[in-house]
Symmetry: C2
Subunit: 301 residues, 2 copies
């Protein structure tokens, strides 16, 4: 499919991609760049790649496809580090959870001779690092690509074909729309989960022990989400600031209304909210099991 | 174990208990009272009980154990409806998610000749009704009993034995402490899940469709919780008002601090919160798979 692919950043997503590329021979040669030498060692030890290096110039040399899998906040630095070594006609894609800031950062540094196909696989677990990856991570999951009007459609097709080989389904979307929709479905839920677990963390020791013991009553699911990679999520919130603050404002309004209803003992208001929320659930369940969060599918919890 | 047990309210929990009691012959005779004649019909059709009736006096007559499985808000009405028909020495227990209001409501109406053993199984799914129940619902799950200082310990032992036969583990706790701990682990998570799904419900049609489509990125888990029984949860919030408002206040403070950090671009603050929340997750995972939320264990989602 490609002569040489270079993955930059070998965490959960990068190493899962590597497992697919190596396992299915989707590239003649697979290199990875990671600034952490231990990650490079681990990548070679696990035979995830043909070459692991801490040098951007060595890694991207002659690559037809470069996949940026480092945190969203690092895109600007990475783009400027690789810009001078990219082969003309090479395709650059990424897996960042925010697309607006990535488009801005990459456009600023990459030469016009490369094709940019921003992307985001809706897949992940709460585990991080090269050992946490697995080939099935993307199976029947959505990958959203947000090409620019100037992007060559053949480049979009090639990136789509790679994800297709990983078992994923492709959706093409405007990057601004991506950031709004994911702000609601992903970024806000993560922020809330981090927040409620932090609230529990502040309790006195005895109460906290009981909270941990009886977590199965709802809290446990939040702790799974709140165990996600801190650097990745810090960068998501710093780079999708506008959409997250907008949707957080709406959420806070709705929560305040529920709070007021509890304080005033307004059972009708509570009942009405708790009833209409079932409608969205029904539609999601109708969409079928492919919507399942990957940690459940993996049964790892 | 008992000559006659009467279950009042045959929903998810009541019908799951009935399946255990009938399946293991834990009672010589099992009756149920449900004010909905269709539920009574269904109970007989599914052979969940020996007798299903809409009459409190018929159902509780001669029963050694009465298990109240109706919503927390109905406890006062139910207690006054059964008070005159209870056999002296009978044990009354319940499965309500709030214990303070239940203790208050039951003590007000029940005669002194019966033993009160308030209880709460930490088990459930987002599905409701007699057909949603299953015998394994309580297996390796906690049941918290909150007996009063005046409760006969033999009555506590008998109720514990019943839950033990269902595969549950018993914890004895003060009812005030129960309401605080469950306020954090269960009531607040449910309130937040209802709220975020309601926020999404308010979006314009196109965005809402995309939110449903890409729900696997975190939102989907919230919709499962927010599909729980509306009457049950309305009553929880109306009856554990004080603890819920207290913990909601703390949560709102913590969320505001995160909001401010996002607005100011304070990455260090975000990173620190997102790192310390991992500690609670680690402790929960160490406790083992018995802590898994039941819908995951049931694999129904």
């Amino acid at each position: 499919m490609f002569n040489k692919i270079c993955i930059i950043g070998l965490g959960l997503i990068g190493s899962s991609l590597a497992r697919n590329i190596k396992g299915q021979s989707l590239a003649g040669f697979l290199s990875c760049v990671d600034l952490n030498p231990k990650v490079c060692e681990k990548a070679m030890e696990l035979s995830l790649v043909d070459q692991a290096t801490t040098s951007f110039s060595v890694g991207v040399e002659d690559a037809d496809l470069i996949i940026l899998c480092s945190p969203v906040g690092s895109m600007s630095v990475v783009a400027s580090a690789i810009a001078d070594y990219l082969k003309p006609g090479a395709i650059v894609t990424d897996v960042g959870s925010v697309k607006g800031s990535v488009v801005r950062d990459l456009q600023q540094h990459l030469p016009e001779s490369v094709e940019l196909v921003p992307g985001h696989p809706i897949a992940g677990t709460e585990h991080s690092g090269p050992e946490a990856g697995f080939a099935e991570l993307f199976r029947e999951r959505w990958v959203i690509l947000t090409p620019l009007p100037s992007t060559d459609l053949r480049a979009v097709d090639k990136v789509s074909a790679l994800w297709g080989a990983c078992g994923a389904r492709i959706e093409i979307m405007d990057y601004k729309r991506h950031d709004l929709v994911l702000g609601i479905t992903s970024h806000l839920p993560h922020l809330i989960a981090y927040s409620i677990v932090d609230t529990a963390n502040d309790l006195e020791d005895e109460t906290r022990s009981e909270v941990i013991k009886f977590s199965a009553s709802g809290f446990r699911g939040f702790t799974r989400i709140a165990a996600s990679d801190p650097v990745m999520w810090r960068d998501v919130f710093l780079n999708n600031q506008e959409a997250v603050l907008e949707i957080l404002g709406r959420f806070t309004e709705d929560l305040s209304a529920l709070q007021k209803a509890i304080r005033k003992g307004d059972g009708d208001y509570l009942f009405n909210v708790f009833t209409r929320t079932r409608d969205i659930r029904r539609k999601i369940v109708e969409l079928g099991p492919e919507g399942l969060p990957s940690p459940e599918r993996k049964g790892k919890d």
